[in-house]
Each structure stands twice: as structure tokens, then as C-alpha cells.
């Protein structure tokens, strides 16, 4: 599972460098994000602009990350489009996650 870390104003921006977040990758993805949350990151933007497909296992991993970060932290998603957004809408997760068109927009809202 390839994740690229970047810090912006104390916010961790994680770019998912994979085209698919599916059942074969979801466990590793969940573990990698959990490690960063355990290390103290409570403001996280997931850059999904390069992701073309997410299945229910990938979605479950995202929900797990949201639960782990808890109500005192923030987990936003940036750049989701196409099939990824369609899955969020179908499952009503578009009302659960904070979705943004770009990383800049997500960081700006989280910083305000």
C-alpha cells in the first residue's frame, strides 16, 4: 500500500498512491493510517485524487480510520471523483465524511 506523507500547517496530508483501494489493499491501508493516528496525527486529509475504484472493504477501512480518529480529530477526503464519489453517494457516506474537491480546500477548511 503506497501512501505519500506531507505536512501542511500541522495537518497530515496522505496521498493514496494506488488506483484501487480494494479488499486486497484495505487491511494494509487501515494499518498504515492507524499507525499515523496512534503517532499523534489527529488532523488528516486523505488525497484520493489518484484513486479510481474503492470497494466495500476499502470503504470499511475508511470508516475504521474515521472511528479511530474519533470526534476530537478530523479526517477529510480530497479529490474523490467518478466511481469513488458514486460509492460514497450510494452508501450515504458522502454525508458522513467531509469531502472536498482539492487538498487545498480540505486543508483550508481544517485550518480555519
Amino acid at each position: 500500500m503506497r501512501l505519500i506523507d506531507e505536512q501542511r500547517n500541522g495537518i497530515l496530508v496522505l496521498r493514496i498512491d494506488e488506483k484501487r483501494v480494494d479488499a486486497s489493499k484495505a487491511p494494509a491501508f487501515k494499518d498504515e493510517v492507524a499507525k499515523r493516528i496512534e503517532a499523534g496525527h489527529s488532523q488528516v486529509v486523505l488525497d484520493m485524487s489518484g484513486v479510481e475504484f474503492v470497494d466495500s472493504s476499502g470503504l470499511g477501512a475508511l470508516v475504521s480510520c474515521l472511528k479511530r480518529i474519533g470526534p476530537r480529530g478530523n479526517l477529510a477526503i480530497a479529490g474523490a471523483s467518478g466511481a469513488v464519489i458514486r460509492l460514497f453517494s450510494l452508501t450515504r457516506m458522502d454525508r458522513v465524511f467531509s469531502l472536498h474537491d482539492t487538498v487545498d480546500a480540505a486543508v483550508e477548511q481544517m485550518s480555519s
Binding site: F53, A61, S64, L66, K67, A83, L87, L90
Partner: protein, 149 residues
């Protein structure tokens, strides 16, 4: 006229993406973007279920997929030789799975969404188990377009 093809993968989650991409490409001539995604997500969820639950995550078993492009629908059959699924799991699955309280973080589902997604995305879903083989048949209807050769 219809066009059909059978594809086979090993029961390994790493192989599912390859098959899903192939099927999506096959369907792209007759389905629009939304319907193509509907077929892809349904196929992926069906195969994941077979590998994770039917074959209990063990590689070395077969998962077959038959894709038929008909004049007004796409038909997908997922074929396995695992222990059959309890049929009521599929018939009871629906979009109700996603009627959760969005303000209750703990209540958000992390699993058990696959069959509901199949039911929501496909126009017909049937499951047949018998004689050591299980077949999940899924149909996506579309406006008539001629597949390019």
C-alpha cells in the same frame, strides 16, 4: 446477437482487480459510466465474498466469471465450488444497510456491505447452489446499443 466470454482466476484477492478491469473494458461499449461502475462494484463484491467467505481466504481454488453482452442487457455469472452461501443473506440484502444514523460514529458499518451493494446496483440477482457448484447471476439492463467488434 450476443457476445460472451468466460474468465477464470485463482481465489486470491490480488487477482480480482485484473478480472474486474477486463470485465469493465468488455462492458464499456454498451454501458455508460454509471452502469459500468455498477457492474464492476457488483462483480468485485461477489468475487470478494466467494474468496473471503466461500473459500475462507485460501488460494488455489477457481473463481469463474461468464460475461454475456446481450442486445439490451449485460449478464454476469460468478461461478465457484465453495460451500454455498445461505441464500437468505442475498435475498435479505438491500439499501437498508445504509440507513444508519450518520451522527452516530460507532454505528457506521465497516463490513457486511457487499451483498447490499450488489442488490442496489444490479437489475436482477439470482443465486443457485447445487451439485458442488454455486452460480450468482447478475443482470444490468441498458438501452440498446450495438457492441463494437
Amino acid at each position: 446477437m450476443s457476445v460472451g466470454i468466460k474468465l477464470l482466476i485463482d481465489s486470491d484477492l490480488d487477482k480480482v482487480a485484473l478480472l474486474a478491469r477486463a470485465v469493465r473494458a468488455l462492458c464499456s461499449d454498451v454501458l455508460d459510466e454509471d452502469s459500468s461502475h455498477a457492474v464492476e462494484i457488483s462483480l468485485v463484491e461477489a468475487i470478494n465474498n466467494v474468496i473471503k467467505h466461500g473459500y475462507e481466504g485460501k488460494p488455489g481454488r477457481n473463481v469463474g466469471v461468464v460475461v454475456s453482452l446481450r442486445p439490451d442487457h449485460v449478464e454476469i455469472e460468478v461461478i465457484d465450488q465453495a460451500e454455498p452461501m445461505e441464500a437468505s443473506l442475498l435475498s435479505n440484502a438491500s439499501g437498508d444497510r445504509f440507513e444508519f444514523d450518520i451522527t452516530d460514529l460507532d454505528a457506521l458499518p465497516e463490513g457486511g456491505m457487499g451483498l447490499a451493494l450488489i442488490q442496489m446496483n444490479m437489475d436482477e440477482v439470482e443465486y443457485h447452489a447445487g451439485q458442488g457448484e454455486n452460480r450468482l447471476r447478475m443482470v444490468k439492463r441498458h438501452a440498446q446499443r450495438t457492441p463494437s467488434s
